[in-house]
Symmetry: C2
Subunit: 212 residues, 2 copies
Amino acid sequence: MLLHLDAAARRTSFSRKLSRTFAEAWRQADPEASYVYRDLAADPVPHIGEAWTELCDHVLAHGITDISRYKEAVRTAEHAAAWAVVEPLLGELVAAKTVLIGVPMYNYGVPSSLKAWLDQVTFPRMSLKGRTFVIAGARGGAYGPGAPKEPFDHHERYLRDFIQGHFAVEDVTFVHAELTNSLVDPALAHLRAAHEESYAAALALAGKAATR
Amino acid sequence: MLLHLDAAARRTSFSRKLSRTFAEAWRQADPEASYVYRDLAADPVPHIGEAWTELCDHVLAHGITDISRYKEAVRTAEHAAAWAVVEPLLGELVAAKTVLIGVPMYNYGVPSSLKAWLDQVTFPRMSLKGRTFVIAGARGGAYGPGAPKEPFDHHERYLRDFIQGHFAVEDVTFVHAELTNSLVDPALAHLRAAHEESYAAALALAGKAATR
C-alpha cells in the first residue's frame, strides 16, 4: 500500500507536483496495489493535546512498543477522543509499505501541517522498520551539499534524522525542487535556470524512484 | 513589552513552568512594562493557507521589507481573511522588546503549535534586530553538548538558526529542563536525579536571565 501525504499550503506547489509524479508512476507500475491519499493542508490534523500526552505517558510507563496495543492506554472519554484522531492516521501509516510525503520547506523547517501529523502518529520507541519513505520537497533557496545555506536545512536533515532515528526506517529517498523563490523574487531571477534544472532533475528522480 | 508564548500540550509542562518563572521575574523587575501572553496550545493559530502564500509572494515580488507595508499585499477578500490572522500576531511580535517562548521538544523538533505561529508571522527578509529572545525548553531526553543524542537536537538548533539566521536577532538565550521522560519511563528511572538537577539549573537560569 502507498500512503501519499501532501503538506503544501499551495494547491499548485512543486512538492505536490513531485509527489503526484511519484504516485502516478508507482500506481502505473502496480495498478492492483492500494493507495491512500491525505491532504494535510486541505484537511488538517489537530495539534496534539493534553489527553494525547496521557496516552503517550501510559505507553511509555508500561513499556508498550506493540502498536496494536496502544489503545490499551485509553482510560477516559478524553483519551477516547484523542485516540479517535490517532487511530485512522496510525492505521494507514502502519498499513503502508511506502510512505510518500510532499512537503515544502517553510522557514528552514517542515510546515506545521506535517508536524501536526507527525506529532499525532509518533509514540515512544515506535518502529516502522522495513518501510520505504519518499520525501518530495520544494525549497525557496538552495540548501543542498555545498550551498551557503546548507547549515540551515532543517527540512531534509530533520526528516532524515527523525525517520531513520525514531522510526528506524533505513530506506529514505529525498527529491527536491530548489530555488523556487527565483520565480517570484526579482533579486533571484538570475537563478531561474538553476531552478528549472533542479525541478527537472527532481521530476526524473521521482519517476525513477517509483519504479526501481 | 514582553511577549510570552507557550506551546506545550501539557498544562503543567516543564516548559510552561520555566517560561512562567522568567515572566514573573521579568514583571517583578519592571512592573510598569506591558506584558502580552498567548497560549498557542489552548488557543491555536491556524496553519498558513493558499491566501497567505499570495501575501508572501507579493511582499517578495515587490521587495517589501518594511513590516508596516505588508498590508499592501491584501488585494482580495481571501487575502484580507489571511491578513486578519497575521496582523494581531505580527503586531504583538513587532511591539515586543523581549520574546519569551515556552516550547517543549516533540519528536526532535518544535511542536506543530509553535511552527504554525512561526509560519504565520514570518515573511521574507524580515528583521527583528535588537530584540531579545528567550527560549524555555523541555526535552524528554538529553540533547546538550556531548550527549549521544545531540545530533538529533532539531529543537534548540532549529530555533537558534531560525531566530538568528532569519530574524537577525543576536540575543537568544536557551534554558532547558532535560530528561523529563525519566519521570514516566521506568527504563530511565536512574536518570531522575540528573533531570532534577537540569530542571533546578534551568529555573535558576530563567530567573537570572529575566533580571540581568
